[in-house]
Amino acid sequence: MAIIEMKNLWKEYGDQVVLERLNASVEEGEFVTIVGASGCGKTTFLKLLLGTEDATRGELLLDGQPLPAEPDASRGIVFQRYSVLNHLTAVENVMLGGELESSRWFGISVGKKRKQLRKDALEMLESVGLGPAADKYPHELSGGMQQRLALAQALIKRPRILLLDEPFGALDPGIRADMHKLVLSLWKSQRLTVFMITHDITEGFYLGTRLWVFDKPRLDPQAPGAYGARVTYDLPVGDCENGTLTSINQRVTRTSRVLNDTL
């Protein structure tokens, strides 16, 4: 059975239609990359999956059941920023999930349990290349290191679904490539289902298993909010004809112009 299923999903803010008629189903273990014009509703879609926003119409199912209307441990997330807690050191950030689980009241672990959590956390940090930075605070880490820390923190909880909202947008190309490798290897080893938003269409084309393009098929330049975005392309990655990339690029750019000029 599909892990995520959308049936005629709509999202509106007031009279602005952001997303309309989304229909898709995603199997466990898929890696979906999402591209689209700025302001077309990618983050809004992630918020629906996270449970911080409700759909206006339609159904969003997790394992065939309506998705819980608040964030929980089944869906991990890495935001573009503020993803790690700045008052905890790197290793404490990674231990946090386990600590919250081990003591329902205060979320603080002690003794043997704490040692075990710390050991696991250090291993996790090692695997994202942050071993030497374990006892540093986030403000002492670079942007790329903070994002790796956020990944480690989310993944040690072994969420079934991982949501990534332009997690590497602020990083330079070299580090981005490293992060891609990291995400792919973690995805493979944990059998995650990943939804990742990116602004970089080429990134979307080789990362993951499936590429979604969010775009507005109907677009009224006088009223860009009148129609919502849909999934206009749903492509298996690595399996597309020449010219698709350019054509997607052109369309997304056009939508982006309309959305961001008139705003």
Binding site: L50, T52, F79, Y82, H87, E99, L100, E101, A154
Partner: protein, 272 residues
């Protein structure tokens, strides 16, 4: 030659420049005092430096003839105790209410209007009410401090709690946290350094309310003493007391700031 805006003093020069205004004030005072005393040796307004030394000696190092106490220390102890109790209770109330209002929408809807309303009541205007309800004892004086600074601290902490990025609260939930854990592991630790800065800011008003309360009803305390000796125009006691109070305020502020920097390095690195 660099532009003025880019010229920075070295360490030694920085100290010297900082001390200079104090020195000039001292000199100005001594000149003025000498001039007045030359005209009238019994002048009380600007006593000479040796009168201060005598007064300090009398207040701090000789037991009082009436009570046998060392007045300055007894006054200091009494005042610091009231200040400490008042500020501590305020801080505690402010953290609890501030976290409740700042993080839980249902609590905020219930109490936030009340806090806003209370914070607009001028505390000095209800001082007589406090004396009527709590009598002239310690309680009324501590209550004035509490009533004076708590609403402000609550509003400050409530605001700070709301400034915690939504991303972090969502993050906690995706790591499996319940509401109480979000408070103990995210909101509480994030608010601690902010509580310290709220305390530092409210210490000024706290001193004001303390001295006001002591001036009206007390038998000891720094504010009480100043207003007592005012009747004899005893500038030689008042001015050292004022300097002493200022010094105490400075030391408390300094210690809080240092503690915060040592204990919460992550807070001070963000350019706060």
């Amino acid at each position: 030659m660099k532009k003025l805006i880019n010229r920075r003093p070295g360490n030694a020069l920085s100290w010297a420049l900082g001390l200079l205004p104090f020195l000039l004030l001292m000199i100005a005072y001594m000149v003025a005092s000498d001039a007045r005393l030359a005209e009238n040796p019994n002048d009380k307004l600007l006593p000479a430096l040796d009168s201060f030394v005598q007064a300090i000696d009398r207040m701090a190092f000789e037991p009082s003839k009436r009570s046998g106490e060392y007045l300055l220390w007894a006054d200091t102890l009494a005042s610091l105790q009231r200040l400490g109790i008042g500020v501590a209770i305020s801080a505690l109330v402010a953290v609890v209410v501030g976290i409740g209002n700042g993080t839980i929408p249902l609590v905020r809807s219930t109490f936030s209007p009340l806090v806003t309303g209370l914070s607009l009541v001028p505390p000095m205007a209800i001082l007589p009410v406090l004396f009527i309800i709590f009598g002239l004892g310690e309680l009324a004086k501590v209550m004035l401090i509490i009533i004076g600074i708590t609403p402000f601290m609550i509003r400050d902490l409530q605001q700070r709690a709301r400034e915690i990025p939504a991303e972090q609260i969502i993050k906690m939930q995706t790591l499996g946290a319940n509401t109480w854990q979000i408070i103990t592991r995210l909101v509480w630790p994030q608010l601690m350094p902010r509580l310290i800065s709220a305390v530092r800011l409210s210490l000024g008003p706290a001193w004001l309310f303390l001295i006001a309360a002591e001036a009206i009803a007390a038998t000891e305390g720094l504010g009480y003493r100043i207003f007592l000796v005012r009747r004899y125009l005893a500038m030689d006691v008042i001015l050292p007391y004022v300097v002493w109070i200022t010094f105490l305020a400075f030391v408390i502020d300094f210690l809080l700031s240092r503690y915060s920097q040592w204990r919460y390095p992550w807070f001070h690195q963000k350019g706060h």
